[in-house]
Symmetry: C4
Subunit: 283 residues, 4 copies
Amino acid sequence: MYKVTKKKVHGLLHPEIVGDERWDKIINVFIIVLIILNVVAVILETVKSINNRYEEFFHYFDWISVIIFTIEYILRVWSSNHEEKYKHSVWGRLKYMFSAGALIDLIAIAPSYMHSIIGIDLRVLRMMRLMRLFRLFRLTAYMKSAQMITNVFKKRANELALTFILAALLIIIASCIIYFTEHLYPTEKTSLFTSIPATIWWAIVTLTTTGYGDMIPLTDLGKFMSGIIMLTGVAFFALPAGIITAGFLEEFRINRIKKTHKCPNCGEDLNLENNHHHDENGK
Amino acid sequence: MYKVTKKKVHGLLHPEIVGDERWDKIINVFIIVLIILNVVAVILETVKSINNRYEEFFHYFDWISVIIFTIEYILRVWSSNHEEKYKHSVWGRLKYMFSAGALIDLIAIAPSYMHSIIGIDLRVLRMMRLMRLFRLFRLTAYMKSAQMITNVFKKRANELALTFILAALLIIIASCIIYFTEHLYPTEKTSLFTSIPATIWWAIVTLTTTGYGDMIPLTDLGKFMSGIIMLTGVAFFALPAGIITAGFLEEFRINRIKKTHKCPNCGEDLNLENNHHHDENGK
Amino acid sequence: MYKVTKKKVHGLLHPEIVGDERWDKIINVFIIVLIILNVVAVILETVKSINNRYEEFFHYFDWISVIIFTIEYILRVWSSNHEEKYKHSVWGRLKYMFSAGALIDLIAIAPSYMHSIIGIDLRVLRMMRLMRLFRLFRLTAYMKSAQMITNVFKKRANELALTFILAALLIIIASCIIYFTEHLYPTEKTSLFTSIPATIWWAIVTLTTTGYGDMIPLTDLGKFMSGIIMLTGVAFFALPAGIITAGFLEEFRINRIKKTHKCPNCGEDLNLENNHHHDENGK
Amino acid sequence: MYKVTKKKVHGLLHPEIVGDERWDKIINVFIIVLIILNVVAVILETVKSINNRYEEFFHYFDWISVIIFTIEYILRVWSSNHEEKYKHSVWGRLKYMFSAGALIDLIAIAPSYMHSIIGIDLRVLRMMRLMRLFRLFRLTAYMKSAQMITNVFKKRANELALTFILAALLIIIASCIIYFTEHLYPTEKTSLFTSIPATIWWAIVTLTTTGYGDMIPLTDLGKFMSGIIMLTGVAFFALPAGIITAGFLEEFRINRIKKTHKCPNCGEDLNLENNHHHDENGK
C-alpha cells in the first residue's frame, strides 16, 4: 500500500518516465504554470509602480507558491528512492537531494525561508527566486527537438569551443590594435579608448555587430583598422553558424538513415551509410 | 446560363484554380495593382505635407477602390457556392464568408462604410485599411518557391518553436543578470536599467545584435557579463539560421530525388533514398 | 597583314578568349591598375585637403587616363568585328558599341570630353567617372569561383526574389504596427515616428539588425511590439543565408559528381545522380 | 649523452611531436599559463588605477617572464638541429631562427632587452610584448578541430577572397551613391558625409550591420538608397556564411567517407564517393 502510493506519487511528479495519464498532466501543467507565474511575478515586482500597488498580493502569492513548491520538493525526495539509482532509503534520498534537478528545486524555495528566518536581503532574495526559471528547462525534456539541438551542441562542442578561443584571440588582437591607434594619436575629443579592457568592450560590441555606438574610433587610422576588423569579423563570426548548420544536417541525415534505410533484400536495418550492406553473393 | 456565368465569374476571380486565360490575368493584375496602390496611398496619407496637398484625391481614390472591392467581394460570395465545399446556396455562402480569405476581404472594405455611417475614428480607419496589404499574400500562392519556404517553416516548426522558447529563456536570464549588476552597483549616471521589463528591452535589442545604444550597461561587471551574453548570443542566434538552412537542403534533396531517381532497370519511380529499390534477384 | 593585326589587337584586349601570352597579361594588368588608380583618384578628390594640394596632379592624371581609355575603346571597336557575332564591318561594330561592356567603357570616358566641350557640372562628372569602377567586374570573369557565386544567385533567383517580397511585406507590416503604437499614444518627448515612410526607415534599420539608434520606440507597447518584430526578423532574415548556403552545397555537389562519377564498369561519365547508369543485365 | 639530452630537451619543448609524457605536459602547461598571464598583465597595465598600484609587481613579473622565455628560446634554438630539416649545427639553427615560430618567440622577448639597452619607448614596448599572444596560436596545433577549420578556410580561400573583392566593390559603390545623395542635396544639419573615404566608413559600419549611428543619411533620397543598400547587404553578407557552412559540410562528409566506407565485399578502403569500387563481374 505504502509502496504503491510512493510509486504513484513518483509517477505523478515524473510524467516523462511513467507515461501520460490524466492526473500526471494536470499536476504537471499546474506546476509549470505556477513556475511561469512566479517568474512573471518576480519580473513585475521590479517595476516600481506595479510593486507599490500589488505589494501585498505579491507577498501572499510568493508564500502560497513556496508552500506548494515545498510540498512538491518533499514528495519528490520521499518518492525518489523508488528509482533504481536512488534505492537506499537514506543514502539514496540524500544522493537524490544533491542531484542537479533537486538542488535547483531547493534553491528555488530556500531563499524565502532564509528571508523570514535569517533576514536575507530582499534584493538578493528576488534574484534567487528567479532560479525557479531554471526549472523550466525541465520542460525541454518533453520536446523531441530539444534532444536534437542538444546533440548538435554536444557533438560539435570541440569546434564551438575552438571558435570561442579564436574569437577571444581576435577580440584581444582587435582591442590592442585599436587601443594603440586611438591612444597614440590623440584627437581633439577625449578618447574613450582609455585602456585595453575598455577597448575589449568596444571589440565585443563591434565584432558581434551589436554596435551600440558608445565607443567609436575617431582617428583615421583607427577607422581604417576598424573597417578591416569588422570585415574579418563577418567572415569569422560565420563560423558558429556554419558549424551549427553542418551539425543539424548531420542529425537530420542520421535520423533519415535510421528511418528509411532498411535493406530491400532482407529487410534488416542498415547502420552504415553504405547503401549495400551485403552484396549479391552474400545470400 | 446562370450557372455558366457563375462558373465564369468564379474562374475569373480564382485564376489559380481554373487556369490562366486572358481575362483572368487582366482582372487579377488589375486587382493586385489596385491593392498595391491602396497600400501606397495609406502609407503616403500619413505624410502630412503630401496629405495636405492631395487629401481630396486620396478621398476619391479610396471610394473608387472601396466600390471595386465591394463588387469583387459580392461576386466572390455569390460565385463561391460553385465550389464543392461551399455547395449549399445559403449555408455554403455563409461558410465561405467566414473563411480567412473572405474575412480579410471584408475587413479591407468594411471600415470605409463604418466611417461614413457610424463615424469611426479616421486614424483607426487608416490602420484597418492597411489590412488590404494582407491580400497580397494571395500572390504567393502563384509562386512555386513560396511553397518550398512554407514547407521549410512547417516541417521545422518544432525546432523553430523550441529555439523561440530557448531564446525567451536566454533573454530573461540575461535581463536578470544585467538588471542586478546595473541595479546593485549604482554609478554616477542614473541607470536606465530601472526594472527587469526595461532590461528585457535591452536584452532583445542586444541579443538580436540590433544594438540601438539607448541602454548600455555602465558598470564594469555589467559590461563583462554583457560581453559574455553577446558572445553566447552569437552562437545561440545561429540556431534559426542553421535549422532553416538544413530545412532548405532537405527540400532540395527531396525535389532532386523526385526528379532524377527513376530505376535504371525498370523505369519506375524510386520513392526511397536508397538507390536500389529492388535487387538483381528481385525480378 | 591588316587582318592579322586586328586579330592580334583583339587578342591583346580580350585575353580571356585567346589565351595568356606575355603581352596580353602586361596590357591587361596595366589597364586594371589604371582603372583602380582612377577609382582611388576619384575617391581621394572628394577629400578637400587632398584635393587642394594635388588638384593639378589629379587633372593631368585624369586626362592621361582618358586618352589611354579612348585609345583602348577605339581599338576595341575597331577589332570587334573579328568576332563572329559582330562580323559586319559597320553594323557589327555598331552592335558591339551597344553591348553592355562597350557602353560602360564609353560612359567611363565620355564625361571628361563633355566637361570640356559642353561644360557639364564637375560634381556630376566625378560621379560618372566612378563608372570606371564597373569595369572591374570584368576581372571576375577570370575567377572560377565567380561563376559558382553567379550560378548560386541565378539558380536561386526565384527563392531570393520571394524572400525580398516577403521582406518588403514584413517591413511594411512592422512599420504600420509601430507607427500606430507610437502615434496613437503620445509620449512626453516628440515622437520621430511622424509618418509610415519615416517608420519604414526605422523598420529596415531594425530588421537588418543595423540599429543606428536614431529612431527608437518610446512607448511600452511600441517596445513590446518591436521586441516581437526583432525576434521574428532574426528567423526571417536567416532565409537568404539558408537559401544561399543550400545553393552553394548544390554547386559543390554538382562539381563533385562531374569530377568523380565515372562508371566503374565502362569508364563512361555519369551524368545522373544515380550511381548506376546501366544495370547488370545491360551488357 | 649530449645527444640524448638534446633529444630530451627538444621533446620537452615540442610535445606535439614526441608524445605526451608527464614532464612534457607540465612544462607545456607552465609555458602556456605564463603566456596567458603575460597577456593579462599587458592588458591590465593599460588600466591606470591598476598600473599605479602594481607597477613594481608588473615590472618584476615581466623580467621573470622574459628570463624564462629567453631560456626557453635558447634551448629551442640549441635543440632545433635535432630535427631533420635543421640538421646542420650552424646553418640549421640559423634556419630555425628565421622560421615563423622562432621569430615570434624572439619578438616576444627582444623588446624588453631593447628597452633597457637602447631605451625604446615604453608604449611601443607594451604593444610588442603583446606579440606573446601569437604564441597561443601554437595551442591550436593540439586541437583536431583546428585543422578542420583551417582546412575549410584553405579550400574555400578562392571563394572567400572573391567575396572580399565583391564586398569591397559593394562598399565603394554604396559609398559613392550615399556620398552624392547626401552631398548634392544639403540639409539644415551639416552633413557628416564630407568625402567618399568618410562615407566608406559609414558603408562598412552599415553593411556589416554594426550600425554605430555616428553617421546617418539625413536626406529622403539618401535614406531610400540606404534602405536598398542594407537589404542588398543582408543577402550579400550571407555569402561568407554560406561558403563556410558548405565547406564544413564537405569536411564532415570527407571524414565520414574515410571512416565508414569500407567495401563490404573485400573490406578494402573506398577512396571514391562512388558506392561501388568494383562491380559484380570484377572478381
